[in-house]
Amino acid sequence: MWDTNLVLGGKEFTSRLIVGTGKYASMDVMREAHEASGTEIITVAVRRVSLPSGESILDYIDTKRYTLLPNTAGCYSADEAIRTCYLAREAGLGEMVKLEVIGDQRTLFPDVMGLLEATRTLAREGFTVMPYTNDDPIMAKKLQDAGAACVMPLGAPIGSGLGIRNPYNIKIILESVTVPVIVDAGVGTASDAAIAMELGCDGVLMNTAIAGAKDAVAMAKAMKLAVEGGRLAYKAGRIGKKLYATASSPLEGLPDWTS
């Protein structure tokens, strides 16, 4: 079936699933999971090298094949997040960034004031800014106006696996912005990803749902199918919901069994 590509910062992607590199049981499992997910974009954190310098995560990621998406996880202010993006760019990780400005350690909910400020600055500096935000349509619009390349509302708290807690807000976000909408965080299993895509989202980003599954490689495949299935269902146009039954078989032509 005909479909458009996901466009971010002028680059086109066929896969609408973005996956992470954290919390895998081993680097080999991670590599296999990436393969099974069909992803084209992989998130990484930017951290101090452990000294003496040893094995690197990049030994397990084909950087010619995948686009790396550095995040600003762990940043609690716009200033820290902006500095992290500059470091990532200097490291050669490109100009596409998953922008996180965290407001609270317990919930990891975004600090949207800091997020908006950092988005504005980084967009002006030529970054392709992908902000992790609340499921708030007003903020989504503000982020778009500040120059965000997409908006990434959370489905539920990071790593919670609670799924899409407010599909109606996600729907309103989809109507509020023209940039791609990518659900980031909260996905627990395949149906959550499918729901996001059926709502009309342009993509889904996840880490823990795959990395933390008993069989991460199988879950990666499940997520690939769910994202594709959800997207197809969205494009196909679902039927309306009705309270009562509507017969699928003709009501005419029934044999007469009355005696």
Partner: protein
Amino acid sequence: MSVTINVNGKPMDVEPGLTVEGLLTLLNVKRDYTAVAVNREITPKATYAAVTLHEGDKVEIVRPMGGG
């Protein structure tokens, strides 16, 4: 005589006149996908050999790690 700098949060005694380039070689840090900041300012790769480290300098050396 040596100078004490701080590398990724840990104190380290180094020879006076050591450059960022020299430090990375000393620590055997891979250069690809690595970035360095000295005293909160990013050091461009092209200037590694020209930037000398001084007493009390705070050096951050970062690379991509696992994350979501």
